[in-house]
């Protein structure tokens, strides 16, 4: 039964990290965590190798956090790790890519012996600085930087740190609340882990971790054999902040591992769309897992098969102090970039390009009349364009890929801040044509509620460079950003919406796949009847 015992314990670990993630969602303040699921949670062995992670979570967090715990062990120092400790950072390079994400790690001791760690990450409401957006030129402007340090030592909270946080961020109560939630959910995980170890009468995670890693490594190798050994190249042009950016990759498949080299990619930019390599790594690993081994759990052994390199100064290898606040915009394209490289090798697997980056924006609302009692408000919205058409299916309309986040309901958004969402519906004719049609983008129209002026921090891509079709399919429609009177609006940076006007966003559609003349007549007729195509 030892085989079955291990299987049962492995499943239990996954259940434990799900509980950990759930505790975080239930107590978190930031909308990105609680409404949109922008978080991750996992359990690690004593060496900092991830054994299991919650399926709740988005690839950018999951796969960066997998690497983060080793950084914590190194920086804290093995001899300074005590029972009751909790460690914290928002270091973009040692954590998950920008200052808005805090990662918290708690060691787990059993009978005085260190047996592993729980870690979790969440995107907080604010970290001070200029506020969330791409406009900073150095990471110093983007907010408070907390290097890897103790959030708590032997159960005692680091009040000095909390005091510094309180004095450096907007919405201090909520940010501090989120830090407590992060550490608290790790405690939840640890409690459940102890109960499991009690039940199975074992003292540590060594055997179980070895079982999980052996199984995963063997199965991952088996699946990677589906990609013939050799090299695969691809390039993609996207909008960037002020100048377009070329992304390039060369994948080398060895039969049991895949390496991505990003040589040929444009240099870093003066604004916060730069990407730390750990984040690019995360979306490359995600691309390989979805294409080659979708059933594989994300853990140290499955992720170990995927390695990356990039030249110094490349936008996918940003270094301190380059600005990285909206690293997701370029980072999200890494998945389509890498999938595109293997599209000809795996024609029945790889979809056409999609909208890729989320169309997130932050709205700052301020009273028109400064003497009025109306308080200043910040509102964040996540929105998605269309995904690329699949080899046997149309693309998905207005749905996030590769990101795993959700949108916020318009009614909840309007309840939380003084804006009106006038329109949020599918955008006809935006999916690329093909044997299979690209997913439709959407049209969003927003304006200020009575008494307020609003400015919008934009971070939108694929306005100049649409998602490309594949195997003869057409491109998706590019995005458009303008005011209701037709005045153009910049796709990146913070701008004010003039009083009485509304802002219209047309989100990009996904690319089509295959020859459009081969599309089934019934599907063409349905597109017209439903108004997906006019």
């Amino acid at each position: 039964m030892s085989e079955l015992r291990h299987q049962v314990m492995w499943n239990r670990l996954i259940s434990i990290v799900e509980e950990q993630a759930l505790a975080l969602v239930r107590t978190a303040f930031s909308t990105s965590v609680r409404e949109a699921g922008d978080l991750s949670a996992g359990v690690y062995d004593a060496q900092g190798r991830m054994i299991a992670q919650a399926v709740t979570g988005t690839p950018g967090h999951v796969n960066t956090m997998a690497a983060a715990v080793a950084n914590f062990i190194e920086d804290i120092g093995a001899h300074h790790i005590y029972e009751g400790d909790s460690y914290i950072t928002n270091d973009p390079w040692k954590g998950t890519g920008h200052l808005h994400d805090f990662t918290v790690v708690n060691p787990v001791f059993r009978e005085g012996v260190l047996i592993g760690y729980f870690a979790c990450t969440a995107h907080v409401v604010d970290v001070g600085g200029r506020g969330y957006g791409p406009d900073a030129n150095e990471v110093y402007e983007e907010g408070l930087f907390v290097p890897i340090m103790k959030f708590a030592e032997r159960g005692v909270i680091n009040d000095d740190l909390l005091n510094i946080v309180r004095h450096n961020v907007r919405e201090a109560g909520q940010v501090v609340g989120d830090l407590y939630s992060l550490s608290g959910c790790n405690d939840t995980g640890a409690r459940r882990l102890h109960a499991m170890l009690d039940e199975f009468a074992i003292d540590d995670l060594e055997d179980l971790a070895a079982f999980v890693f052996d199984r995963t490594a063997a199965a991952t190798r088996e699946r990677l054999a589906d990609l013939p050994t050799g090299t695969y190249a691809n390039a993609m042009r996207v909008d960037g902040y002020n100048n377009s950016i070329d992304l390039a990759v060369m994948l080398t498949a060895s039969g049991h591992s895949v390496h991505a080299d990003f040589t040929g990619t444009s240099p870093t930019c003066a604004y916060g769309v730069n990407v730390p390599l750990t984040y690019a790594h995360a979306y490359f690993s995600y691309a390989m897992l979805v294409a080659l081994a979708p059933e594989m759990p994300s853990n140290w052994a499955s992720l170990a098969s995927f390695t990356v390199s990039a030249p110094e100064g490349c936008i996918l290898n940003a270094k301190h102090p380059e600005p990285v606040a909206v690293r997701h915009v370029i980072g999200h394209f890494v998945t389509d970039l890498c999938l595109g490289a293997i599209a000809s090798a795996l024609p029945n697997v790889v979809p056409a390009e999609g909208a890729g980056a989320l169309w997130n924006f932050q709205v700052s609302a301020r009273a028109i009349d400064p003497r009025s009692e109306l308080p200043p408000r910040e509102v964040l919205m996540f929105n998605s364009g269309g995904t690329g058409a699949r080899p046997t299916l149309d693309g998905i309309n207005a749905t996030a890929f590769p990101s795993g986040v959700r949108t916020m309901p318009a009614e909840a958004t309007e309840q939380s801040g003084p804006i009106v969402v006038w329109r949020k519906e599918l955008r006809p004719d935006s999916g690329g044509v093909g044997r299979h049609r690209g997913g439709l983008g959407q049209v969003i129209e927003i304006g200020a509620a009575t008494g307020y002026d609003i400015s919008v921090s934009c971070m939108f891509d694929r306005v100049a460079n649409p998602a490309r079709g594949r195997h003869g399919g057409g491109d998706g429609a590019p995005g458009r950003v303008y005011l209701d009177n037709g005045t153009p609006f910049d796709a990146k940076g913070k701008q004010t919406i003039p009083e009485g006007r509304t802002l219209i966003l047309e989100l990009p559609g996904g690319g089509g796949l295959g020859d459009p003349t081969e599309r089934e007549i019934s599907e063409v007729a349905d597109d017209l009847a439903q108004g997906y195509v006019t």
Binding site: L4, Q7, V8, N11, E19, L22, V25, R26, T27, A28, V55, P59, V125, E171, G173, Q174, G177, Y180, G184, R192, A195, D198, E199, F200, A201, R215, T216, A219, L289, V290, A291, A293, P294, E295, M296, P297, P351, F382, N383, S384, T392, L393, N397, A398, T399, F401, R406, T407, E411, A412, E414, R423, K424, E425, L426, Q442, E445, A449, Q530, G531
Partner: protein, 719 residues
């Protein structure tokens, strides 16, 4: 209650369960009433046929006269099936301009992150049938764009259609922020009723007045979509019952666990979704009340799914929203959200028919796919070749061919063994017994994990609860589940095989009215809140009064029970905690009163309240119910004599992981105080209770089996 005659009928996916109770329920000493029950196959085309067949069976068995029937209580999966099978009416949605695609865009996320070929559920109403009007109400109720009568009338002409084939059979109306102000929806409904008097209309501010447009619109669409079907069915059922001589009132159990009359059910059929499982929770709550249990864990396992529900203070907790018709392996997010009060439970794809496979990692997986009743488990010999949980139970000796209660089914041990060998054993180099033990262990672990997660969602530690097991499969797996969850006590009630239908007979007349309304503790307006609570109480009371009227009892004669719940959170959080408040109207200090209660509840959920943050209330609900009839409390009996089984068979024992000679005991032969020592099976027509070598069962005076450990738990003796 002597002499009263009541029938509960639960139409499920595979079986229709009918229970007839004469003379009130059983007293503590086993006297006082009689119960007759039967299971017949569900007749999909016309579910009333199966019901009438079952009714005829139990009435004949009881030698009763149907004209003397006092009450007929019904629960049905018909609404759920119509949503899953998309067999509802041709329905239009009319919504606010700009939101035509809300029900199609859903949450803009993928419920399965690693599946490139993911297919999102098709919206209930396709795009061509979704129409818009230019009205708009703001979050605070301000009218941003007025309702335009001319535009509405022009749309009604379109909805009327040019031909009969084009005409809509039902219309759903969902406008943005209608939960704040439903006046535009009501005005449009009035116009529709005037111009299209034969088309039923559902409006979101009545069906589901809760914030979050995707959930509310989807709920009103679901209501409209199943309405013609359910209304027709209920009229037909009433008529046919009348033909058989039963002229009594007919009630429906709703998803919140209360009874409503046929009219209310026909207007709000969406409230019938999950009514069967709700009956199960009521059944467990009733057992908990008899045994004086303040913390009970209801565990219901059938052929396809297992349902787990926490019952505290003998009352199942209700939630404000749930998901139905999941399209993808029961994955969260792959179904349709329905925003109505529902008994909060977790349902997973783990039943007797759940199919076992081996995944790419060499791990045994069980469910969520089920062999159902067609083709059924391999052992049924009805064409099924895939190994199921029932097959594994048979191979391990836990089930046996001679005591299996499904009509017309002979269990084939060789077929079960063969299926397990082929699909699991051969892949993992295990013999059939080891494979079967693995399958059972995995499904038990799945259920235990679901129970743990459900408990933590509610801030509870499941180990302090008493488990109540019912449904065909639960008594077989409950003992192991208790071991996994550290649960000390297990009750297997009489009639466990038809528990949900018995639960119908125990349900009160009850209705819960809900409203989204934002209130901050710091700027609390007691008048507005008091007014809203009065409105909600009136709405709920009206439903209860309407149902009571047909019993001949004026509502004024009944001391109705009223519960008020406020859903609260720290400003900035997204998940609300339910807080129970008393009937005292709020005064100027109401905000502080709420804040205090919230912080206490928060500590219970999450360990520590957060100082210095603003608190807000988001949702409000009032539940009005007839009082639960007093139950006779069961006094626990200790073992008076040990039963020595006259038969044994080899059964795989999970506690020791070996095959042991286990006693076989007939449940009906046991009397109060009889003790059965494990390893043993206690058999009855509709289910089997399994005791491991570390467990014992003592028959109680009310017919419940009380299962406990024979020895204090020694934390898994394995080295």
């Amino acid at each position: 209650m002597m002499g009263t005659m009541r029938i509960g009928a639960d139409v499920g996916g595979t079986f229709t369960d009918v229970v007839l109770e004469i003379g009130g329920d059983l007293d503590d000493d086993g006297s006082g009433g009689q119960m007759f029950s039967t299971k017949v196959l569900t007749t999909y085309e016309a579910p009333e046929q199966g019901i009438l067949e079952g009714v005829a069976t139990v009435v004949a068995e009881a030698g009763a006269d149907l004209t003397e029937l006092d009450t007929f209580i019904h629960g049905t999966t018909l609404a759920t099936n119509a949503l899953i099978g998309r067999t509802g009416a041709r329905t239009a949605l009319v919504t606010t301009d700009g939101f035509r695609d809300t029900i199609e865009m859903r949450t803009e996320s993928r419920f399965e992150q690693y599946d490139l070929n993911l297919v999102l559920p098709t919206p209930l109403i396709e795009r061509r049938d979704r129409h818009v009007l230019s009205e708009r109400i703001a979050a605070d109720g301000t009218v941003l764009r007025p309702f335009d009568e001319d535009e509405a009338c022009a749309l009604i002409e379109v909805l009327a259609g040019q031909t009969a084939a084009e005409a809509y059979e039902a219309i759903a109306v969902g406008f943005i922020h209608a939960y704040v102000d439903g006046s535009h929806e009501r005005r449009f409904r009035d116009l529709l009723v005037e111009h299209l008097p034969n088309v039923p209309v559902s409006i979101s501010s009545e069906v589901a007045p809760q914030m979050r447009e995707f959930e509310r619109f989807n709920t009103v669409c679901a209501n409209a979509y199943v309405q013609p079907l359910i209304a027709t069915y209920l009229r037909r059922l009433e008529a046919q019952l009348l033909e058989t001589g039963a002229s009594c009132p007919v009630y429906l159990i709703h998803s919140g666990g209360g009874l409503i009359n046929v009219d209310a059910a026909a207007r709000f059929p969406v409230r019938l979704i999950e009514s069967g499982p709700a009956g199960g929770a009521i059944f467990a709550a009733d057992i908990a009340a008899r045994h004086g249990l303040d913390q009970a864990l209801s565990y219901d396992m059938g052929g396809t799914t297992a349902k787990i529900c926490l019952i505290e203070d003998q009352t199942p907790r209700t939630a404000k929203t749930f998901e139905v018709a999941r399209t993808h392996r029961f994955t969260k997010g792959s179904g349709m959200p329905i925003s109505i009060p529902v008994i909060e439970m977790i349902e997973i794809g783990a039943g007797g028919g759940s199919i076992a496979t081996v995944d790419v990692l060499g791990q045994i997986r069980v469910g969520p796919l089920s062999a159902g009743s067609e083709p059924g488990p391999a052992a049924y010999g009805l064409g099924g070749t895939k190994p199921t949980v029932s097959d594994a139970n048979l191979v391990l000796g836990r089930l046996s061919a001679d005591s299996f209660g499904a009509p017309g089914v002979n269990l084939d041990d060789a077929a079960a063994r063969d299926a397990l060998d082929r699909t699991v054993g051969a892949v993992l180099a295990m013999d059939a017994e080891t494979a079967a033990a693995g399958v059972v262990e995995v499904v038990d672990e799945n259920m235990a994990n679901a129970a743990r997660v459900h408990a933590i969602e509610n801030g509870k530690d499941v180990a302090t609860f008493t488990m109540i097991a019912f449904g065909g499969g639960a008594p077989l797996h409950a003992g192991r589940l208790c071991e996994k969850l550290d649960v000390i006590e297990l009750l297997v009630p009489p009639g466990a095989g038809v528990g949900s239908a018995i639960g119908f007979l125990r349900a009160p007349f009850a209705y819960e009215a809900l409203r989204s309304h934002h209130a901050t503790v710091d700027h609390f307006d007691p008048d507005a809140v008091n007014r809203m609570l009065v409105d909600l109480a009136e709405e709920a009371t009206a439903f209860v009064a309407e149902a009571l009227a047909s019993t001949g009892t004026p509502v004024t004669d009944v001391a109705l029970e009223t519960e008020r719940w406020v859903y609260m959170r720290y400003a900035g959080q997204g998940w609300e905690i339910p807080v129970l408040v008393d009937a005292t109207p709020f005064d100027a200090l109401g905000g502080e009163r709420l804040a205090d209660q919230f912080e206490k509840a928060y500590e219970e959920f999450f360990g520590r309240a957060i100082a210095g943050l603003a608190v807000e209330a988001i949702g409000w609900s009032v539940r009005v119910s007839t009082p639960r009839p007093p139950v006779s409390r069961v006094t626990r009996v200790v073992a008076l004599r040990d039963i020595v089984p006259d038969r044994t068979r080899l059964i795989h024992d999970t506690a020791t992981d070996t095959s042991l000679e286990a006693g076989i005991v007939e449940r009906h032969a046991l009397v109060a105080g009889d003790r059965v020592l494990g390893p043993a099976v206690i058999v009855e027509t509709q289910t089997t209770t399994l005791l491991s070598s570390r467990q014992q069962a003592i028959m109680q005076t009310d017919g419940c089996l009380l299962v406990t450990r024979t020895t204090p738990v020694s934390k898994e003796a394995n080295p």
